[in-house]
Symmetry: C2
Subunit: 364 residues, 2 copies
Amino acid sequence: MLETFYFGAGPATLPTTILDKIKNELVDHRGTGLSVLELSHRSEEFMEMLDQAENLLRELMGVSNEYAVLLLHGGATAQYSMLPLNFLHQGDSADYICTGHWSIKACQEAKKFASINAIQALADSELIVVKPVENWGLKQQSSYIHYCDNETINGVVNDIAGMESFNSKDAALFCDMTSSILTRPIQVKNYGLIYASTQKNLGISGLCVMVVKKELLSKGCENIPRVFDYKKCFEARSLVNTPPIFAIYVLGLMLNWLKEEGGVIEMNKRGQLQAKALYDVIDSSEIFKNRVAVKYRSCVNIPFEIEDKVLQAKFLQQAENHKLLGLRGHRSVGGVRVSLYNAMPKQGVINLLEFMREFELSHE
Amino acid sequence: MLETFYFGAGPATLPTTILDKIKNELVDHRGTGLSVLELSHRSEEFMEMLDQAENLLRELMGVSNEYAVLLLHGGATAQYSMLPLNFLHQGDSADYICTGHWSIKACQEAKKFASINAIQALADSELIVVKPVENWGLKQQSSYIHYCDNETINGVVNDIAGMESFNSKDAALFCDMTSSILTRPIQVKNYGLIYASTQKNLGISGLCVMVVKKELLSKGCENIPRVFDYKKCFEARSLVNTPPIFAIYVLGLMLNWLKEEGGVIEMNKRGQLQAKALYDVIDSSEIFKNRVAVKYRSCVNIPFEIEDKVLQAKFLQQAENHKLLGLRGHRSVGGVRVSLYNAMPKQGVINLLEFMREFELSHE
């Protein structure tokens, strides 16, 4: 019988060892007589979970004590909505680099509360290309520059080296890393703030991880809802109100798994190999087309199309029959999308590539 | 061996049948080959869950089609922070009835964004007493009147009949029902908006249920973060962004369980009986003291003190030895607190009362 593999863009596949662990300790959490679903956020057991998740994140990402680690409600969407309230005082402005759906959304939300310099950073070309940083028209006196590291819908990565070099400038670098966090090494010290929803690489939905320079929190702003006031969240160790406990528990399990699997270096190695194998099949194919220029191709979200839409529908249907699930592209663009987050097993990619090759052979 | 019972105020105890069900279908959700933790919020399986949760809530609470049911991020704290942004236009004001910790917090958050009439509704007396509604000094032209139905920390309920009679006035009634939702019948038509975090009577933390009159949404306000814009949430069927899927799944299980157990009428009957039995033990005791006037006593959160703090510490320790957990009062007030939400089994209350009687006998 074929094994099921799930390529959804988020919520995403979880390691089976983690699912088994959750199942096994669900009714009696580590001898407490309680389920993790019943545990108080003031209990020793939960505080231990919180500590462990924070410490593992610091270790795996290389986060120094100059940074706070916050665990917040509502996913990346709630948090990018709150960035201007937290960091822009009266008269301040920020640059927002728009490279796709998510960075545009963050920009739209920011505009509700502050003066924003929206930068259209995609070149006007047939293939998707991110313009060189020097052509962006960054403002001189922005408080921060916001960008999305990896756009999940079109599978586009930003000019990372270019972005990280900004650390020498005045503006702090704010990055939505929801889809790419812990898939490759980064230099946290180059960033002012990094945030990521957890339903892709870090567990399940309903939680957002934030790494933010403490220095940036010290200013503080007024009139922010307390539960989204990062200074208050930091002071309260992310316990301003009842946190999403189960999502934090799963985050801890994911980080622990990641460490055991070899950490970010290993994840990056695997991810690069898997993505290369998939792009090779696409690029050598007559029917699969990816629209992103090689330099800006994502290793975690790999979309492609089949021009003949009847054939594309057949592809998706047959993939499901082969237990290759979650391959439908985002409803705004259609097509096919393969998401290869850290938890994707090697066998999943092998089965997918084999299926793609066979599909092409039988439809030449 | 003694069975464990958990009296925590939230996160709270869950029915063991639900824990077993979650455990049993965790790895393969109803034949999908995926875990519920991996399911997409755009999948048929999740849409079915969402429909079912909404329909059950409508059925159990008696919610008509004049009302929208929203499932929102961040718990009641995030949502009470967003009420003024959603419902108060420039120049509007609202009355906030303060009867304890939670209603005061909601009031403080509202003040950040609007003109608020804060009403201190507790009388200046030895026992905790809520002032009669006619003495509150409600404003004539408030857009809404906000109150907390049941204050969990001191175990105080509001003057419900008095509050519900406001439906004849212009101001809409907004109620935080986090701790009391579905524990007794209410007339939804008397309210403009009802909201409740799910970690007490409706499952786990990280989710907030909202029932709101559609007519109130139609006005709309500007510059609200999209994910907390109730009009947008309604239009998007609570899927403005990735929702807390697992918490919604548990909500559905809880609502289903509640229906099977006999619904709100039955819950109210059980709850009243259990609370009466506990208050009887307290009131006939020489050592346990509850500080709330009878008329305003909560049936779901029942706090009491033992004057001798050494004895109180001993009580809490011995209770733990008897597998009666989660009895410590809120850290702001100390003491003992018994939370009797819908999922508390009868045997839990029996064991607790027996323990209390024995404790008193051995410490006369």
